[in-house]
Symmetry: C2
Subunit: 272 residues, 2 copies
């Protein structure tokens, strides 16, 4: 009777390729039960099939090998389940991104010219209650924004609020980097409290476009506004302002959302 299953037999039972099994051995992810010291032949035990199948399926879910390792290392089934559940959550987020990409593409690939109603406006100086963070990544921004907005809403009941809330976002965020982010609400009597601070926002000239609907394809509106700005010989002068004229706090129907995007701009002087 043999030492165990050869790598080829084991590959068939675990649906992994022979090469991949060798790689997993090399990286310590799945050690053969025995390795012949003279021939270096790998032999596996049938009890290892389950482990190999777990690896195979986790990899199908794009779990990185390092994480597979920690899932396998977790003795406690609960802890293991938590790790897997964490990855499933990431899969759901990935699905959201996929959905947004499809929505956005549908708009981008719509035949015919894409109209954009943009205009120049001036945001007057005003005093608002705000929460800021110095360095957030774009993908963390949604969570951060919700938390901060909840804090503002808790501190200023509806009677205190005047006008729609908004956010100010550093332009570096658009390039994938970290950047400053502010969420604000105009209120009757702004006051500092906890993370909330009183912000004097100066008057600023803006190029404005209104995005209607959920934010899945807001990048398209940004692009159209950016094109409008560039083609009107304007330069970008600061972080973008979003004003949530109608947002998730006003209606549960995302189709009705209205987001005003305002980009501080200045007129470029023509070159001589």
């Amino acid at each position: 009777m043999r030492d165990g299953l050869t790598i080829g037999e084991f590959a068939a039972l675990s649906r992994l390729s022979v090469r991949t099994l060798r790689r997993y051995h090399e990286s310590g992810l799945l050690e053969p039960a025995t390795v012949d010291p003279f021939t270096n032949y790998r032999y596996y035990q049938s009890a290892q099939i389950g482990t190999a199948q777990v690896i195979h399926r986790l990899r199908q879910l794009d779990v990185p090998l390092a994480e597979v390792r920690s899932i396998l290392a977790a003795e406690d089934p609960h802890q293991r389940a938590d790790l897997v559940a964490g990855h499933l959550r990431r899969l759901e987020e990935e699905l959201d991104r996929t959905q947004a990409a499809i929505t956005s593409l549908r708009r981008l690939l719509r035949p015919g010219p894409t109209p954009i109603k943009a205009y120049l406006g001036t945001l007057p100086a005003r005093t608002v209650a705000a929460i800021s963070a110095p360095a957030v990544r774009l993908d963390e921004s949604l969570d951060w924004f919700d938390t901060a907005m909840d804090e503002l809403d808790a501190a200023f009941p509806p009677a205190e609020r005047i006008g729609a809330p908004g956010g100010v976002y550093a332009n570096e965020l658009l390039t994938g980097g970290r950047g400053a982010m502010t969420v604000f609400r105009p209120v009757r009597h702004p006051r500092a409290e906890g993370r909330i601070e009183v912000l004097e926002s100066p008057a600023v000239d803006l190029a404005v476009a209104v995005h209607v609907g959920p934010h899945d394809d807001i990048d398209v509106t940004y692009g159209l506004l950016g094109a409008w700005v560039a083609s009107h010989a304007l330069g970008v002068a600061g972080p973008v302002h979003e004003t949530y004229a109608v947002g998730p706090r006003d209606t549960a129907e995302p189709q009705a959302w209205r987001t005003e995007i305002g980009w501080p701009v200045f007129r470029l002087t023509p070159a001589p």
Copy 2:
């Protein structure tokens, strides 16, 4: 007035990184409108923002750059939509695989021992109507199987049929390669017709396990059967037989499916 947008400005508007834009230039996917011949600075036009956004979103959907190229090259919006739709179909298949992986993992990670009821049996010699393909890949097998089964069903009406249909699958399929595949149905009066041939299947000793439910996690049953075979000092002697005792043609409720997996085996003689 400048030549256009610098790479950094363009990156922000298209949500691509500067590095990525340079890569797309290098690979001819998205050429800057002008390149300064002395400094090699890239300048983009605002009209290119839409194209860059399309690329960005397609990449989010994991469309390979080569395919992005052909989508962009398609002038006709319909043709373009077809290419995109093709990829969306692939995304759906990916989603099916993800679903199967989750089902399978749930079973694999279920705490406690995993019972398997396997037994040795003999499939008697018999004559069946069959369709074979010499070299199919596992991921093509589902489509191929459905087509072939439909042909068999069309040629042999219910009154002709005796017993459950099945398939014979080369073991190479399990390792990701191509292999022979046969779908068969026992019928009263087998006859060749079109792709259908009459197959004399010899008697064979099988290790058998029954998989209950949809095939999402059938790999686990295969693994358990394989472990059982290995631990009983048996060797695999030929292509695996699946018999669809209850299948999609019998009930729309996948939970009720019963698939008998039979692996031809022989007794290994103990080493001296």
